[in-house]
Amino acid sequence: MAEITDISNDFIRQEIEEYIERPEERERNINLFARARPKMQEIAAALIDGDNDTVNRLTREALDSGIEALEVMDDGLIAGMGIVGIKFRQNFIFVPEVLACARAMKAGMAHIEPILSAAGIEPVGKVIMGTVKGDLHDIGKNLCIMMLRGSGFEVIDLGVDTAPDRFIEAVEEHDALLLGMSALLSTTMPNMGKTIEAFIDADLRDKVKIMVGGAPVTQEFADDMGADGYGKDALACVATAKKLLGVVAKTRA
Protein backbone atom coordinates (compact mmCIF):
# COMPACT_ATOMS: atom_id res chain seq x y z
CA MET A 1 0.00 0.00 0.00
CA ALA A 2 1.31 3.44 -0.95
CA GLU A 3 1.92 6.26 1.51
CA ILE A 4 0.89 9.88 1.02
CA THR A 5 4.58 10.81 0.90
CA ASP A 6 4.82 8.74 -2.28
CA ILE A 7 2.82 11.47 -4.05
CA SER A 8 5.25 13.98 -5.53
CA ASN A 9 2.82 16.85 -6.13
CA ASP A 10 2.52 19.11 -3.07
CA PHE A 11 -0.93 20.42 -4.03
CA ILE A 12 -2.40 16.93 -4.46
CA ARG A 13 -0.91 15.79 -1.14
CA GLN A 14 -2.46 18.80 0.63
CA GLU A 15 -5.83 18.24 -1.02
CA ILE A 16 -5.94 14.63 0.15
CA GLU A 17 -4.78 15.49 3.67
CA GLU A 18 -7.17 18.39 4.07
CA TYR A 19 -10.34 17.24 2.33
CA ILE A 20 -10.55 13.46 2.08
CA GLU A 21 -11.75 12.11 5.38
CA ARG A 22 -13.16 8.63 4.64
CA PRO A 23 -10.36 6.03 5.06
CA GLU A 24 -11.29 4.02 1.96
CA GLU A 25 -11.35 7.14 -0.19
CA ARG A 26 -8.01 8.32 1.20
CA GLU A 27 -6.46 4.96 0.50
CA ARG A 28 -7.85 4.81 -3.02
CA ASN A 29 -6.64 8.30 -3.89
CA ILE A 30 -3.23 7.84 -2.32
CA ASN A 31 -2.74 4.63 -4.32
CA LEU A 32 -4.00 6.29 -7.47
CA PHE A 33 -1.82 9.38 -7.31
CA ALA A 34 1.24 7.58 -5.94
CA ARG A 35 1.41 5.50 -9.11
CA ALA A 36 0.49 8.40 -11.44
CA ARG A 37 3.41 10.11 -13.11
CA PRO A 38 4.15 13.71 -12.00
CA LYS A 39 2.74 15.22 -15.20
CA MET A 40 -0.61 13.54 -14.52
CA GLN A 41 -0.60 14.84 -10.97
CA GLU A 42 0.01 18.32 -12.36
CA ILE A 43 -2.99 18.00 -14.66
CA ALA A 44 -5.17 16.79 -11.79
CA ALA A 45 -3.98 19.65 -9.58
CA ALA A 46 -4.80 22.27 -12.22
CA LEU A 47 -8.23 20.71 -12.72
CA ILE A 48 -8.98 20.72 -8.97
CA ASP A 49 -7.90 24.39 -8.97
CA GLY A 50 -10.39 25.13 -11.78
CA ASP A 51 -7.58 26.40 -14.02
CA ASN A 52 -8.81 25.55 -17.51
CA ASP A 53 -5.92 27.27 -19.35
CA THR A 54 -3.34 25.19 -17.51
CA VAL A 55 -5.30 21.96 -17.97
CA ASN A 56 -5.58 22.76 -21.66
CA ARG A 57 -1.82 23.36 -21.98
CA LEU A 58 -0.68 20.43 -19.86
CA THR A 59 -3.00 17.97 -21.58
CA ARG A 60 -1.67 19.00 -24.99
CA GLU A 61 1.90 18.75 -23.75
CA ALA A 62 1.30 15.32 -22.26
CA LEU A 63 -0.20 13.96 -25.47
CA ASP A 64 2.54 15.53 -27.57
CA SER A 65 5.16 13.89 -25.36
CA GLY A 66 3.73 10.50 -26.23
CA ILE A 67 1.65 9.71 -23.14
CA GLU A 68 -1.44 7.67 -24.01
CA ALA A 69 -4.75 9.56 -24.13
CA LEU A 70 -6.36 7.00 -21.86
CA GLU A 71 -3.68 7.53 -19.22
CA VAL A 72 -4.09 11.32 -19.37
CA MET A 73 -7.83 10.93 -18.97
CA ASP A 74 -7.74 8.36 -16.16
CA ASP A 75 -4.72 9.51 -14.12
CA GLY A 76 -5.04 13.23 -14.77
CA LEU A 77 -8.55 14.43 -15.54
CA ILE A 78 -10.76 11.73 -13.98
CA ALA A 79 -8.51 11.42 -10.93
CA GLY A 80 -8.73 15.18 -10.39
CA MET A 81 -12.48 15.20 -10.85
CA GLY A 82 -12.75 12.46 -8.23
CA ILE A 83 -11.32 14.80 -5.59
CA VAL A 84 -13.59 17.62 -6.80
CA GLY A 85 -16.62 15.37 -6.33
CA ILE A 86 -15.63 14.47 -2.78
CA LYS A 87 -15.03 18.12 -1.85
CA PHE A 88 -18.46 19.01 -3.28
CA ARG A 89 -20.22 16.20 -1.44
CA GLN A 90 -18.62 17.28 1.82
CA ASN A 91 -19.54 20.97 1.24
CA PHE A 92 -15.92 22.10 1.08
CA ILE A 93 -16.73 23.59 -2.31
CA PHE A 94 -20.02 24.58 -3.95
CA VAL A 95 -21.50 24.79 -7.43
CA PRO A 96 -19.46 27.74 -8.79
CA GLU A 97 -16.21 25.96 -7.95
CA VAL A 98 -17.46 22.69 -9.47
CA LEU A 99 -18.49 24.54 -12.63
CA ALA A 100 -14.96 25.94 -12.93
CA CYS A 101 -13.48 22.44 -12.50
CA ALA A 102 -15.88 21.05 -15.09
CA ARG A 103 -14.82 23.80 -17.49
CA ALA A 104 -11.20 22.71 -16.95
CA MET A 105 -12.17 19.06 -17.50
CA LYS A 106 -13.84 20.03 -20.76
CA ALA A 107 -10.68 21.85 -21.88
CA GLY A 108 -8.67 18.67 -21.34
CA MET A 109 -11.25 16.33 -22.85
CA ALA A 110 -11.34 18.41 -26.03
CA HIS A 111 -7.85 16.95 -26.76
CA ILE A 112 -8.62 13.44 -25.51
CA GLU A 113 -12.01 12.64 -27.03
CA PRO A 114 -11.03 12.68 -30.71
CA ILE A 115 -8.14 10.31 -29.98
CA LEU A 116 -10.28 7.87 -27.99
CA SER A 117 -13.03 8.03 -30.58
CA ALA A 118 -10.62 7.34 -33.46
CA ALA A 119 -9.16 4.41 -31.52
CA GLY A 120 -12.64 2.97 -30.91
CA ILE A 121 -12.21 2.95 -27.12
CA GLU A 122 -15.52 2.30 -25.39
CA PRO A 123 -16.81 4.49 -22.56
CA VAL A 124 -17.50 3.08 -19.09
CA GLY A 125 -21.19 3.15 -19.98
CA LYS A 126 -23.85 5.10 -21.79
CA VAL A 127 -26.45 7.20 -19.96
CA ILE A 128 -29.45 9.17 -21.21
CA MET A 129 -30.03 12.24 -19.01
CA GLY A 130 -32.77 14.86 -18.96
CA THR A 131 -34.89 17.15 -16.79
CA VAL A 132 -38.52 16.01 -16.76
CA LYS A 133 -41.46 17.52 -18.61
CA GLY A 134 -42.50 20.98 -17.42
CA ASP A 135 -39.22 21.68 -15.64
CA LEU A 136 -36.67 24.10 -17.10
CA HIS A 137 -34.07 23.78 -14.35
CA ASP A 138 -30.89 22.02 -15.33
CA ILE A 139 -28.04 22.96 -13.00
CA GLY A 140 -28.34 19.71 -11.00
CA LYS A 141 -28.62 17.60 -14.10
CA ASN A 142 -25.65 19.37 -15.65
CA LEU A 143 -23.52 18.76 -12.57
CA CYS A 144 -24.38 15.07 -12.77
CA ILE A 145 -23.48 15.02 -16.44
CA MET A 146 -20.14 16.70 -15.72
CA MET A 147 -19.34 14.13 -13.05
CA LEU A 148 -20.50 11.22 -15.22
CA ARG A 149 -18.39 12.39 -18.15
CA GLY A 150 -15.58 13.07 -15.71
CA SER A 151 -15.83 9.41 -14.72
CA GLY A 152 -15.65 8.09 -18.25
CA PHE A 153 -19.33 7.73 -19.14
CA GLU A 154 -20.84 8.72 -22.46
CA VAL A 155 -23.84 10.92 -21.73
CA ILE A 156 -26.63 11.85 -24.11
CA ASP A 157 -28.11 15.06 -22.71
CA LEU A 158 -31.76 15.60 -23.65
CA GLY A 159 -31.84 19.00 -21.95
CA VAL A 160 -34.87 20.32 -20.07
CA ASP A 161 -38.67 19.93 -20.34
CA THR A 162 -38.27 16.36 -21.62
CA ALA A 163 -41.48 14.48 -22.41
CA PRO A 164 -41.74 10.75 -21.59
CA ASP A 165 -41.84 9.91 -25.30
CA ARG A 166 -38.56 11.74 -25.84
CA PHE A 167 -36.90 9.69 -23.10
CA ILE A 168 -38.20 6.49 -24.70
CA GLU A 169 -37.04 7.52 -28.16
CA ALA A 170 -33.56 8.34 -26.86
CA VAL A 171 -33.20 5.05 -24.98
CA GLU A 172 -34.18 3.12 -28.10
CA GLU A 173 -32.13 5.24 -30.49
CA HIS A 174 -28.93 4.98 -28.44
CA ASP A 175 -29.58 1.47 -27.13
CA ALA A 176 -28.89 2.82 -23.64
CA LEU A 177 -29.17 0.66 -20.54
CA LEU A 178 -29.42 3.56 -18.11
CA LEU A 179 -31.63 6.64 -17.88
CA GLY A 180 -31.31 9.52 -15.42
CA MET A 181 -34.10 12.02 -14.70
CA SER A 182 -33.89 15.25 -12.76
CA ALA A 183 -36.51 17.65 -11.33
CA LEU A 184 -36.26 20.76 -9.19
CA LEU A 185 -39.93 21.61 -8.82
CA SER A 186 -42.23 19.68 -6.52
CA THR A 187 -44.87 20.15 -9.20
CA THR A 188 -42.80 18.36 -11.83
CA MET A 189 -41.42 15.58 -9.62
CA PRO A 190 -44.47 13.36 -10.31
CA ASN A 191 -43.48 13.43 -14.00
CA MET A 192 -40.68 11.05 -13.04
CA GLY A 193 -43.34 8.50 -12.14
CA LYS A 194 -45.29 9.27 -15.32
CA THR A 195 -42.15 8.69 -17.40
CA ILE A 196 -41.52 5.38 -15.66
CA GLU A 197 -45.13 4.39 -16.38
CA ALA A 198 -44.59 5.30 -20.03
CA PHE A 199 -41.66 2.88 -20.14
CA ILE A 200 -43.89 0.18 -18.65
CA ASP A 201 -46.61 0.91 -21.21
CA ALA A 202 -44.03 0.74 -24.00
CA ASP A 203 -42.88 -2.65 -22.66
CA LEU A 204 -39.36 -1.26 -22.19
CA ARG A 205 -39.14 -1.04 -18.41
CA ASP A 206 -37.16 -4.26 -18.05
CA LYS A 207 -34.63 -3.13 -20.63
CA VAL A 208 -33.47 0.04 -18.92
CA LYS A 209 -32.47 1.00 -15.40
CA ILE A 210 -33.81 4.35 -14.23
CA MET A 211 -32.21 6.67 -11.69
CA VAL A 212 -33.65 9.94 -10.40
CA GLY A 213 -32.45 12.98 -8.48
CA GLY A 214 -32.96 16.67 -7.84
CA ALA A 215 -33.00 19.00 -4.84
CA PRO A 216 -36.48 18.03 -3.51
CA VAL A 217 -36.23 14.34 -4.52
CA THR A 218 -35.55 11.76 -1.80
CA GLN A 219 -34.88 8.03 -1.69
CA GLU A 220 -38.43 7.53 -0.42
CA PHE A 221 -39.89 9.47 -3.33
CA ALA A 222 -37.67 7.58 -5.78
CA ASP A 223 -38.92 4.28 -4.36
CA ASP A 224 -42.54 5.43 -4.56
CA MET A 225 -42.08 6.37 -8.21
CA GLY A 226 -40.61 2.96 -8.98
CA ALA A 227 -37.09 4.13 -9.83
CA ASP A 228 -34.15 1.71 -9.63
CA GLY A 229 -31.77 4.22 -8.10
CA TYR A 230 -31.49 7.61 -6.45
CA GLY A 231 -28.57 10.00 -6.19
CA LYS A 232 -28.50 12.65 -3.49
CA ASP A 233 -25.80 14.62 -5.32
CA ALA A 234 -23.63 14.48 -8.42
CA LEU A 235 -21.08 12.14 -6.87
CA ALA A 236 -23.83 9.80 -5.72
CA CYS A 237 -25.22 9.91 -9.25
CA VAL A 238 -21.95 8.44 -10.55
CA ALA A 239 -21.92 5.74 -7.87
CA THR A 240 -25.55 4.89 -8.64
CA ALA A 241 -24.83 4.76 -12.37
CA LYS A 242 -21.91 2.39 -11.83
CA LYS A 243 -23.96 0.20 -9.52
CA LEU A 244 -26.95 0.06 -11.84
CA LEU A 245 -24.88 -0.75 -14.90
CA GLY A 246 -23.23 -3.49 -12.90
CA VAL A 247 -26.66 -4.84 -12.08
CA VAL A 248 -27.60 -4.68 -15.76
CA ALA A 249 -24.47 -6.51 -16.80
CA LYS A 250 -25.17 -9.32 -14.34
CA THR A 251 -28.80 -9.55 -15.43
CA ARG A 252 -27.79 -9.87 -19.06
CA ALA A 253 -24.99 -12.32 -18.43
Binding site: N91, V95, H137, I139, L185, S186, P216
Partner: protein, 351 residues
Protein backbone atom coordinates in the same frame (compact mmCIF):
# COMPACT_ATOMS: atom_id res chain seq x y z
CA UNK B 1 -44.29 28.79 23.67
CA UNK B 2 -42.66 31.67 21.88
CA UNK B 3 -44.75 34.82 21.93
CA UNK B 4 -48.13 33.50 23.05
CA UNK B 5 -48.93 36.13 25.65
CA UNK B 6 -52.41 37.28 24.61
CA UNK B 7 -55.67 35.39 24.94
CA UNK B 8 -57.12 33.63 21.90
CA UNK B 9 -59.37 35.49 19.50
CA UNK B 10 -58.10 38.90 20.49
CA UNK B 11 -56.34 39.70 17.23
CA UNK B 12 -57.31 39.84 13.58
CA UNK B 13 -55.26 37.76 11.19
CA UNK B 14 -53.50 40.90 10.01
CA UNK B 15 -52.64 42.04 13.54
CA UNK B 16 -51.41 38.56 14.37
CA UNK B 17 -49.09 38.35 11.37
CA UNK B 18 -47.71 41.84 11.75
CA UNK B 19 -47.03 41.28 15.46
CA UNK B 20 -45.28 37.99 14.77
CA UNK B 21 -43.11 39.67 12.15
CA UNK B 22 -42.06 42.14 14.86
CA UNK B 23 -41.66 39.30 17.40
CA UNK B 24 -44.31 40.90 19.61
CA UNK B 25 -46.91 38.92 21.62
CA UNK B 26 -49.67 37.16 19.65
CA UNK B 27 -52.89 35.41 20.70
CA UNK B 28 -51.78 32.37 18.69
CA UNK B 29 -49.07 31.64 16.16
CA UNK B 30 -50.14 32.90 12.73
CA UNK B 31 -50.32 30.56 9.76
CA UNK B 32 -48.43 32.22 6.98
CA UNK B 33 -47.89 31.67 3.31
CA UNK B 34 -45.00 33.81 2.10
CA UNK B 35 -44.78 32.04 -1.26
CA UNK B 36 -47.75 30.23 -2.83
CA UNK B 37 -50.57 27.98 -1.66
CA UNK B 38 -52.24 27.87 -5.07
CA UNK B 39 -53.45 24.39 -5.94
CA UNK B 40 -55.39 22.92 -8.81
CA UNK B 41 -58.32 22.31 -6.44
CA UNK B 42 -58.32 25.95 -5.34
CA UNK B 43 -58.08 27.06 -8.97
CA UNK B 44 -61.26 25.09 -9.67
CA UNK B 45 -62.99 26.50 -6.60
CA UNK B 46 -62.14 30.08 -7.55
CA UNK B 47 -62.47 29.55 -11.29
CA UNK B 48 -58.99 30.98 -11.60
CA UNK B 49 -56.64 28.53 -13.34
CA UNK B 50 -52.97 28.98 -14.19
CA UNK B 51 -51.62 30.62 -16.22
CA UNK B 52 -54.44 33.20 -16.25
CA UNK B 53 -54.22 33.56 -12.47
CA UNK B 54 -50.62 34.73 -12.94
CA UNK B 55 -51.47 37.27 -15.65
CA UNK B 56 -54.92 38.68 -14.98
CA UNK B 57 -55.53 40.76 -11.79
CA UNK B 58 -59.09 39.67 -10.92
CA UNK B 59 -58.24 36.04 -11.44
CA UNK B 60 -55.00 36.43 -9.45
CA UNK B 61 -56.84 38.07 -6.55
CA UNK B 62 -59.67 35.52 -6.59
CA UNK B 63 -57.28 32.58 -6.32
CA UNK B 64 -55.16 34.31 -3.66
CA UNK B 65 -58.16 34.98 -1.45
CA UNK B 66 -58.78 31.24 -1.10
CA UNK B 67 -55.69 31.00 1.10
CA UNK B 68 -57.68 32.90 3.72
CA UNK B 69 -61.29 32.02 2.92
CA UNK B 70 -60.87 28.29 2.18
CA UNK B 71 -57.69 27.27 3.98
CA UNK B 72 -57.89 29.51 7.02
CA UNK B 73 -54.39 30.98 6.73
CA UNK B 74 -53.71 34.41 8.23
CA UNK B 75 -52.15 35.75 5.05
CA UNK B 76 -53.09 36.27 1.43
CA UNK B 77 -50.29 36.04 -1.12
CA UNK B 78 -51.18 36.69 -4.76
CA UNK B 79 -47.74 36.27 -6.37
CA UNK B 80 -47.55 32.55 -7.15
CA UNK B 81 -44.47 32.68 -9.35
CA UNK B 82 -40.94 34.07 -9.33
CA UNK B 83 -41.18 35.35 -12.90
CA UNK B 84 -43.28 38.52 -12.84
CA UNK B 85 -40.49 41.13 -12.84
CA UNK B 86 -38.16 38.92 -14.89
CA UNK B 87 -40.82 38.96 -17.58
CA UNK B 88 -40.87 42.77 -17.34
CA UNK B 89 -37.06 42.83 -17.58
CA UNK B 90 -37.29 40.97 -20.89
CA UNK B 91 -36.79 37.30 -20.00
CA UNK B 92 -38.67 34.72 -22.02
CA UNK B 93 -41.29 32.84 -20.03
CA UNK B 94 -42.71 29.35 -20.47
CA UNK B 95 -46.24 29.96 -19.23
CA UNK B 96 -47.26 26.31 -18.88
CA UNK B 97 -50.77 25.11 -18.07
CA UNK B 98 -52.98 24.74 -15.02
CA UNK B 99 -50.85 21.99 -13.49
CA UNK B 100 -47.48 23.72 -13.52
CA UNK B 101 -45.87 27.01 -12.58
CA UNK B 102 -44.67 29.43 -15.22
CA UNK B 103 -40.87 29.42 -15.46
CA UNK B 104 -38.20 31.71 -16.86
CA UNK B 105 -36.38 30.19 -19.83
CA UNK B 106 -32.97 30.51 -18.21
CA UNK B 107 -31.28 28.70 -21.07
CA UNK B 108 -32.05 31.77 -23.14
CA UNK B 109 -30.32 34.47 -21.08
CA UNK B 110 -30.91 38.08 -22.03
CA UNK B 111 -27.66 39.57 -20.68
CA UNK B 112 -23.95 38.65 -20.62
CA UNK B 113 -22.24 41.49 -18.74
CA UNK B 114 -23.12 44.23 -16.26
CA UNK B 115 -23.22 46.87 -18.98
CA UNK B 116 -26.12 45.00 -20.61
CA UNK B 117 -28.36 45.52 -17.60
CA UNK B 118 -31.11 48.04 -18.19
CA UNK B 119 -34.05 48.40 -15.85
CA UNK B 120 -36.81 49.27 -18.32
CA UNK B 121 -38.91 52.38 -17.77
CA UNK B 122 -42.02 50.20 -17.96
CA UNK B 123 -40.94 47.88 -15.14
CA UNK B 124 -44.05 48.73 -13.14
CA UNK B 125 -46.46 49.15 -16.05
CA UNK B 126 -45.55 45.91 -17.85
CA UNK B 127 -48.62 43.66 -17.84
CA UNK B 128 -46.98 41.00 -15.62
CA UNK B 129 -45.91 43.42 -12.87
CA UNK B 130 -48.98 45.65 -13.14
CA UNK B 131 -51.11 42.54 -12.69
CA UNK B 132 -49.58 42.01 -9.23
CA UNK B 133 -50.11 45.65 -8.23
CA UNK B 134 -53.73 45.60 -9.40
CA UNK B 135 -54.41 42.30 -7.61
CA UNK B 136 -53.04 43.71 -4.35
CA UNK B 137 -55.32 46.75 -4.72
CA UNK B 138 -58.33 44.48 -5.30
CA UNK B 139 -57.48 42.37 -2.25
CA UNK B 140 -56.87 45.37 0.01
CA UNK B 141 -60.22 46.84 -1.01
CA UNK B 142 -62.04 43.56 -0.44
CA UNK B 143 -60.43 42.52 2.85
CA UNK B 144 -59.53 45.84 4.44
CA UNK B 145 -57.61 45.33 7.69
CA UNK B 146 -58.86 41.79 8.25
CA UNK B 147 -55.99 39.77 6.83
CA UNK B 148 -52.32 40.37 6.05
CA UNK B 149 -51.60 40.80 2.35
CA UNK B 150 -48.10 39.78 1.37
CA UNK B 151 -46.42 40.83 -1.87
CA UNK B 152 -43.22 39.57 -3.41
CA UNK B 153 -40.19 41.23 -4.96
CA UNK B 154 -37.30 39.17 -6.24
CA UNK B 155 -33.80 39.81 -4.94
CA UNK B 156 -30.90 40.60 -7.29
CA UNK B 157 -29.20 37.22 -6.91
CA UNK B 158 -32.30 35.39 -8.19
CA UNK B 159 -32.77 37.96 -10.94
CA UNK B 160 -29.16 37.28 -11.91
CA UNK B 161 -29.97 33.59 -12.44
CA UNK B 162 -32.95 34.53 -14.59
CA UNK B 163 -31.26 37.18 -16.72
CA UNK B 164 -27.77 35.69 -17.10
CA UNK B 165 -28.51 31.96 -16.78
CA UNK B 166 -27.67 30.04 -13.61
CA UNK B 167 -24.35 28.55 -14.74
CA UNK B 168 -23.13 31.74 -16.38
CA UNK B 169 -24.03 33.82 -13.32
CA UNK B 170 -22.38 31.40 -10.90
CA UNK B 171 -19.22 31.19 -13.00
CA UNK B 172 -19.09 34.98 -13.17
CA UNK B 173 -19.34 35.10 -9.40
CA UNK B 174 -16.18 33.00 -9.19
CA UNK B 175 -14.25 34.50 -12.11
CA UNK B 176 -15.03 38.15 -11.52
CA UNK B 177 -16.50 39.17 -8.16
CA UNK B 178 -16.29 42.85 -9.15
CA UNK B 179 -18.48 42.34 -12.19
CA UNK B 180 -20.89 40.25 -10.15
CA UNK B 181 -21.23 42.97 -7.52
CA UNK B 182 -21.85 45.51 -10.26
CA UNK B 183 -24.64 43.30 -11.64
CA UNK B 184 -26.21 43.04 -8.19
CA UNK B 185 -25.95 46.81 -7.68
CA UNK B 186 -27.82 47.41 -10.93
CA UNK B 187 -30.40 44.67 -10.44
CA UNK B 188 -31.26 45.76 -6.90
CA UNK B 189 -33.10 48.76 -8.31
CA UNK B 190 -35.70 46.42 -9.81
CA UNK B 191 -36.12 44.81 -6.39
CA UNK B 192 -36.65 48.17 -4.69
CA UNK B 193 -38.94 49.65 -7.35
CA UNK B 194 -41.25 46.65 -7.49
CA UNK B 195 -41.27 46.35 -3.70
CA UNK B 196 -42.16 49.99 -3.12
CA UNK B 197 -44.93 49.82 -5.72
CA UNK B 198 -46.52 46.82 -3.98
CA UNK B 199 -46.48 48.61 -0.63
CA UNK B 200 -48.09 51.62 -2.23
CA UNK B 201 -50.72 49.28 -3.70
CA UNK B 202 -51.52 47.98 -0.22
CA UNK B 203 -49.19 45.11 0.65
CA UNK B 204 -48.50 44.75 4.39
CA UNK B 205 -45.22 42.88 3.97
CA UNK B 206 -43.06 41.55 1.17
CA UNK B 207 -41.43 38.21 0.55
CA UNK B 208 -37.97 38.73 -0.92
CA UNK B 209 -36.70 35.51 -2.53
CA UNK B 210 -32.96 35.58 -3.19
CA UNK B 211 -31.83 32.03 -3.83
CA UNK B 212 -28.32 31.96 -2.39
CA UNK B 213 -29.03 28.44 -1.17
CA UNK B 214 -26.58 26.04 0.39
CA UNK B 215 -27.47 23.69 -2.46
CA UNK B 216 -25.62 26.08 -4.78
CA UNK B 217 -23.28 28.47 -2.95
CA UNK B 218 -21.42 28.76 0.34
CA UNK B 219 -22.40 30.76 3.41
CA UNK B 220 -19.41 33.01 2.69
CA UNK B 221 -21.01 33.83 -0.66
CA UNK B 222 -24.10 35.08 1.15
CA UNK B 223 -21.96 37.23 3.41
CA UNK B 224 -19.76 38.51 0.56
CA UNK B 225 -22.42 39.28 -2.00
CA UNK B 226 -25.79 39.67 -0.29
CA UNK B 227 -25.77 40.52 3.40
CA UNK B 228 -25.11 44.24 2.88
CA UNK B 229 -27.56 44.43 0.00
CA UNK B 230 -30.24 42.87 2.18
CA UNK B 231 -29.48 45.40 4.91
CA UNK B 232 -29.94 48.11 2.29
CA UNK B 233 -33.34 46.69 1.29
CA UNK B 234 -34.46 46.89 4.92
CA UNK B 235 -33.42 50.55 4.96
CA UNK B 236 -35.04 51.46 1.64
CA UNK B 237 -38.27 49.45 1.71
CA UNK B 238 -40.61 50.62 4.49
CA UNK B 239 -42.42 47.35 5.24
CA UNK B 240 -41.51 44.08 6.94
CA UNK B 241 -39.41 41.92 4.61
CA UNK B 242 -39.50 38.12 4.63
CA UNK B 243 -36.34 36.70 3.08
CA UNK B 244 -36.93 33.40 1.29
CA UNK B 245 -34.13 30.99 0.44
CA UNK B 246 -34.83 27.33 -0.32
CA UNK B 247 -32.66 24.41 0.68
CA UNK B 248 -29.94 24.15 3.29
CA UNK B 249 -29.44 27.54 4.92
CA UNK B 250 -28.65 26.95 8.58
CA UNK B 251 -24.97 27.68 7.88
CA UNK B 252 -25.87 31.23 6.78
CA UNK B 253 -28.72 32.00 9.17
CA UNK B 254 -26.39 33.95 11.43
CA UNK B 255 -25.58 36.32 8.54
CA UNK B 256 -29.28 36.45 7.58
CA UNK B 257 -30.21 37.36 11.15
CA UNK B 258 -27.84 40.34 10.94
CA UNK B 259 -29.76 41.96 8.06
CA UNK B 260 -32.64 43.45 10.03
CA UNK B 261 -35.17 41.58 7.87
CA UNK B 262 -38.41 40.89 9.75
CA UNK B 263 -38.46 37.17 8.98
CA UNK B 264 -36.73 34.32 7.22
CA UNK B 265 -38.83 31.75 5.36
CA UNK B 266 -36.89 28.53 5.81
CA UNK B 267 -36.86 25.09 4.27
CA UNK B 268 -37.49 21.68 5.87
CA UNK B 269 -33.86 20.76 5.19
CA UNK B 270 -33.13 22.80 8.34
CA UNK B 271 -34.22 21.62 11.78
CA UNK B 272 -36.57 24.09 13.57
CA UNK B 273 -34.85 23.95 16.97
CA UNK B 274 -31.36 24.25 15.52
CA UNK B 275 -32.44 27.15 13.29
CA UNK B 276 -34.07 28.98 16.19
CA UNK B 277 -30.86 28.50 18.15
CA UNK B 278 -28.84 30.17 15.39
CA UNK B 279 -31.10 33.20 14.80
CA UNK B 280 -31.69 33.82 18.53
CA UNK B 281 -34.68 36.20 18.33
CA UNK B 282 -32.93 38.56 15.90
CA UNK B 283 -35.33 37.55 13.10
CA UNK B 284 -38.64 35.65 13.01
CA UNK B 285 -38.70 32.28 11.32
CA UNK B 286 -41.50 31.19 8.96
CA UNK B 287 -41.93 27.60 7.90
CA UNK B 288 -41.10 24.85 7.45
CA UNK B 289 -43.65 22.12 6.60
CA UNK B 290 -42.11 19.84 4.00
CA UNK B 291 -43.73 20.04 0.56
CA UNK B 292 -42.92 16.96 -1.53
CA UNK B 293 -42.84 14.31 1.18
CA UNK B 294 -45.42 15.67 3.61
CA UNK B 295 -47.95 18.09 2.14
CA UNK B 296 -47.96 16.41 -1.26
CA UNK B 297 -47.44 12.75 -0.38
CA UNK B 298 -48.65 12.17 3.17
CA UNK B 299 -51.77 12.84 5.23
CA UNK B 300 -52.95 15.32 7.87
CA UNK B 301 -51.38 13.35 10.71
CA UNK B 302 -47.85 13.89 9.40
CA UNK B 303 -48.63 17.54 8.61
CA UNK B 304 -49.71 17.98 12.23
CA UNK B 305 -46.46 16.46 13.50
CA UNK B 306 -44.41 18.98 11.54
CA UNK B 307 -46.57 21.88 12.70
CA UNK B 308 -46.05 20.81 16.31
CA UNK B 309 -42.32 20.46 15.78
CA UNK B 310 -42.14 24.08 14.64
CA UNK B 311 -44.35 25.32 17.46
CA UNK B 312 -42.38 23.36 20.04
CA UNK B 313 -39.23 25.07 18.76
CA UNK B 314 -40.83 28.53 19.08
CA UNK B 315 -41.03 29.30 15.36
CA UNK B 316 -43.00 32.55 15.03
CA UNK B 317 -45.05 31.89 11.87
CA UNK B 318 -46.00 28.43 10.61
CA UNK B 319 -46.58 27.45 6.99
CA UNK B 320 -45.30 25.42 4.04
CA UNK B 321 -41.57 25.60 3.34
CA UNK B 322 -42.01 26.98 -0.17
CA UNK B 323 -44.60 27.21 -2.96
CA UNK B 324 -46.61 24.04 -2.56
CA UNK B 325 -47.03 21.41 -5.28
CA UNK B 326 -50.10 22.34 -7.29
CA UNK B 327 -51.62 18.89 -6.81
CA UNK B 328 -51.47 19.09 -3.00
CA UNK B 329 -54.71 18.04 -1.27
CA UNK B 330 -56.62 20.89 0.40
CA UNK B 331 -57.20 18.62 3.39
CA UNK B 332 -53.47 18.73 4.19
CA UNK B 333 -53.31 22.51 3.95
CA UNK B 334 -56.37 22.97 6.16
CA UNK B 335 -54.68 20.81 8.74
CA UNK B 336 -52.01 23.47 9.36
CA UNK B 337 -54.29 26.08 11.02
CA UNK B 338 -56.22 23.31 12.80
CA UNK B 339 -53.02 21.91 14.27
CA UNK B 340 -51.84 25.37 15.31
CA UNK B 341 -55.10 25.99 17.20
CA UNK B 342 -54.94 22.57 18.86
CA UNK B 343 -51.33 23.06 19.90
CA UNK B 344 -52.21 26.38 21.52
CA UNK B 345 -55.22 24.82 23.26
CA UNK B 346 -53.03 22.04 24.62
CA UNK B 347 -50.45 24.55 25.84
CA UNK B 348 -52.88 27.21 27.13
CA UNK B 349 -52.78 25.99 30.73
CA UNK B 350 -49.01 26.31 30.85
CA UNK B 351 -49.12 30.07 30.15
Amino acid sequence: MGTGAKSAGQMTSRQRVMAALRREPVDRTPVCNPTSVATVELMDLADAPFPEACREPESMARLAATGYTELGFDTIMPVYTIIQESSALGCKIQWEQKDNWPTVKMREPIWEKPEDIKIPSNLLTHSDTKCVLDAIRILRKEFGDEVAIIGKTMGPWSLGYHCFGVEQFLLMSLDDPGKTKLCLEKLKEATVQFGLAQIEAGADALTLPDHATGDLVSAEYYERYLRDLHIEFVERIPAPLILHICGRTVDRMDYIAQTGMAAFHYDSKNEPAESMGVVRSRISLVGNINNPETLFSKGPEQVRKEVYKNLDAGVQLVGPECAIPLQTAIENLKEIPLAVRDWHREHATTN
